[in-house]
């Protein structure tokens, strides 16, 4: 039995190698989009490539928001088996590019005009050393409020324009006996919310300096201290069981009307849609108070590896299809994010999506499109995770005061740099 098995697998592998030598019309794609909605969105791309005669070799590895996939990718690269492309985030692309394992899509980029249509902020991660190494798929934005409209109407609230408005609104909800703020007490959720708080408290200039440039003076400043104060204030509006809650359960609280609002990235919209709720009538999407006009983004990219020559044609086809306007629209309508190029028509998007597209365009032109530090687009992973540590320890009481939080933040970021 065992012998047969071994011989069988040996033969199978032999066939696989033989097939590789001839067949190059396939793309191998490592990704972690495995839930129904995500898979449906990516299937559009698979379909587009199939029309051009390219087979899709799926390599899905879910877990930890891409952590498991990145671990698998590292092993694959160590073994010398590069996939055609892999879903990647921000600094990871640059790390792999620096290691010299990424391909070069500059020709395609020129032909397709990516330089002009893709926001400069994204190009920082997709272009390394003057070469295009990745194709951005979408732009997520994290400075959103997701509000249950029925609760909002009940308490007679209106869109909060400033942080103080927001606090007043939360007070109203509290008085009405609703949990004001739905928060999942996991470090990335807390830090994602804090991204918005910093932008709201210090304004665009300050956010960029502190959260993207990691400027020491800004990190130490009173504005940062004020940001922690504001975070502490927000945390007083969460329910006692928030700790450890998954983000989608927090969203469910808003959907059910148990809570008024959640501060979360635009992927939360998928949960509302899955519950058959529509924007404007069942739920509202506002920018985090005091951050209108700016967008804190993160983006999924398809990193393109330096594959053998006979596989490059398939890679180019994949990259071209990824950034085609039709795919960008179709994919992002399903995914809840907005297209990674600013010239895609917004006709198919819902109200929140339309606002997202308009905001992205405005922020791109006005220079207020910033990487999210919590989502790994503000600084390399070592710094981003050190940041999440500090925020989470502050929220859960290991760090007791805003002064201490500022000191710890500076220390942690210095240490990780």
């Amino acid at each position: 039995m065992l012998r047969k098995l071994l011989i069988g697998t040996a033969l199978a592998s032999g066939l696989a190698f033989a097939a590789h030598a001839e067949d190059v019309k396939e793309v191998q794609m490592l990704h972690w989009w495995t839930s129904g909605g995500e898979a449906a969105a990516l299937n559009v791309l698979k379909g587009d490539l199939a029309k051009e005669g390219y087979a899709w070799k799926d390599v899905p590895v879910a877990g930890g928001g891409g952590d498991a996939a990145m671990t698998a990718l590292k092993a694959m690269v160590a073994a010398g088996n590069y996939p055609t492309a892999s879903q990647m985030l921000g600094y990871t692309v640059l790390d792999y590019a620096a290691a010299g394992v990424m391909g070069d899509l500059t020709e395609t980029a020129k032909k397709e005009g990516w330089d002009k249509s893709v926001p400069a902020a994204l190009q920082k991660f997709a272009v390394y050393d003057g070469k295009w190494v990745a194709a951005p798929v979408n732009v997520h934005s994290v400075n959103w409020l997701w509000i249950n409209k029925a609760v909002m109407d009940k308490i007679g609230g209106t869109e909060p324009k400033t942080f103080d408005d927001f606090v007043a609104l939360l007070d109203k909800a509290k008085a009405a006996g609703v949990t004001p703020l739905a928060l999942g007490g996991q470090n990335w959720q807390e830090a994602t919310m804090f991204d918005s708080v910093v932008l709201s408290t210090g304004g665009p200039e300050f956010y960029k300096k502190a959260m993207n440039d990691l400027d020491d003076a800004s990190l130490k400043s009173d504005t940062m201290k004020k940001s922690f104060d504001n975070l502490a204030k927000l945390v007083t509006y969460v329910d006692p069981n928030f700790s450890g809650r998954d983000w989608n359960l927090a969203t469910a609280m808003v959907i059910k009307g148990d809570a008024l609002v959640q501060v979360m990235g635009d992927w939360a919209k998928g949960e509302f849609h899955a519950a058959n709720k529509s924007p404007g009538t069942d739920f509202l999407c506002y920018r985090f108070p005091g951050t209108d006009g700016s967008v804190i983004y993160n983006s999924d990219m398809f990193g393109m590896f330096n594959v053998p020559d006979d596989r490059k044609a398939a890679q180019v086809a994949l990259a071209t299809a990824t950034l085609s306007k039709s795919f960008q629209s179709a994919f992002n309508v399903v995914k809840g994010s907005v297209p990674a190029r600013t010239d895609v028509p917004d006709t198919d998007f819902d109200a929140c999506g339309k606002k997202g597209i308009a905001d992205l365009k405005k922020a791109n032109e006005g220079g207020t499109l910033f990487g999210s530090l919590a989502q790994g687009y503000g600084a390399p992973p070592a710094v981003a995770n050190a940041y999440k540590d500090v925020i989470s320890k502050f929220v859960h009481g290991q760090i007791k005061t805003s002064d201490e939080a500022v000191t710890e933040l500076v220390k942690a970021i210095d240490d990780a740099k």
């Binding site: 040996a10 032999g14 899905p60 879910a62």
Partner: protein, 314 residues
């Protein structure tokens, strides 16, 4: 027989004490059974609920309108990556990796245990100690060097393929996984068998040697027939660990064709920014565990008392 429920003293104490004794024993066993079953209860009730009910109700409440839908979906419809055909297709991938890995590592462990206890040589204890400590190496820190080695073996396989005509399985993801699991499994299998054989009467082996029995004859005729309980334990342990391994499976399985069940299950369950279907997840987890549970039940039947008592009497 080792089970002692009626020591001589109690025999004079009468039937009452014995009955109370039994009631206490069964009561305790039942109580612990409840503790172990509780999370299974949560999973079962969840798997029969609709998503609406999960979002709105108590996690421990019985389903109001039980539905089989999540089970059917987990079996044949849910998306594992872009392929939405359920998890049913991944059993074979796991089985063809797990069965050889378990058999090889268990047999090696039995042989090693036999050598280390019955054919002692100078330094045997040190060898055992070194193999035992191997159990503690964190898999995260072997992931990359092992990948590099497997990658080179794979390239060597391609060369062989081109020159000799067969790669001998080198570079095949399933063979790679079998190899990795054998390498990191023999520490445990050797430990189990060595410690079991430690208590095995050496006189039997000596006697057989005097009779002129060879190394393998003694192993086959004397050791193996008396090793049923420890075989069961080892197989349970190895089967479970290899079946449930995610780290190696996700890193070395290559393209999706060889994807083992655990990776598939993980893809169903884990999502970062997508909608989570708890009922399908729970059903999928239970379906994915079925082969392991089957092994527990089947192997458990061989949890019989060893034949040693009889053997000593000869």
């Amino acid at each position: 027989m080792s089970a002692v429920t009626t020591p001589t003293r109690q025999a004079s104490g009468g039937m009452n004490a014995k009955i109370v004794n039994r009631i206490v024993i069964y009561g305790l066993l039942a109580l612990f059974a409840l503790f172990y079953l509780m999370p299974l209860f949560v999973m079962l009730v969840t798997s029969f609920k609709t998503m609406d009910e999960i979002q709105n109700g108590n996690m421990l409440a019985l389903p109001k309108a039980p539905t089989f839908e999540p089970w059917l979906k987990a079996w044949g419809e849910t998306c594992v990556g872009l392929t939405c055909a359920g998890i049913k297709g991944y059993f074979w991938n796991s089985i063809k990796m797990v069965v050889p890995a378990v058999l090889i590592s268990t047999m090696l462990g039995a042989l090693n245990g036999y050598v280390l206890t019955k054919w002692r040589f100078r330094g045997a204890t040190l060898v055992f100690g070194l193999m035992l400590f191997a159990c503690f190496i964190p898999f995260q820190s072997v992931l990359l060097p092992m990948a590099t080695i497997l990658g080179s073996l794979g390239r060597f396989g391609v060369t062989l393929q081109n020159t000799v005509g067969t790669s001998f399985g080198l570079g095949n993801p399933t063979v790679n996984l079998v190899f990795v699991h054998v390498v990191y499994g023999i520490g445990f299998t050797t430990l189990f068998f060595r410690n079991y054989y430690e208590a095995f009467p050496t006189e039997l082996v000596k006697a057989a040697q005097v009779d002129g029995a060879s190394f393998f004859q003694i192993f086959r005729r004397i050791m193996l027939p008396n090793s049923m309980p420890i075989f069961v334990v080892t197989v349970i342990y190895q089967f479970t660990n290899i079946w449930n391994d995610f780290l190696f499976a996700s890193a070395y399985a290559g393209t999706g064709d060889a994807m083992p069940m655990t990776v598939a299950l993980n893809n169903v369950v884990n999502t970062s920014t997508g909608v989570v279907e708890y009922n399908v997840n729970m059903a999928a987890a239970m379906i994915a565990a079925l082969p392991t549970l089957l092994v527990y039940v089947l192997a458990g039947r061989y949890f019989v008392r060893g034949l040693m008592a009889g053997a000593v009497k000869g």
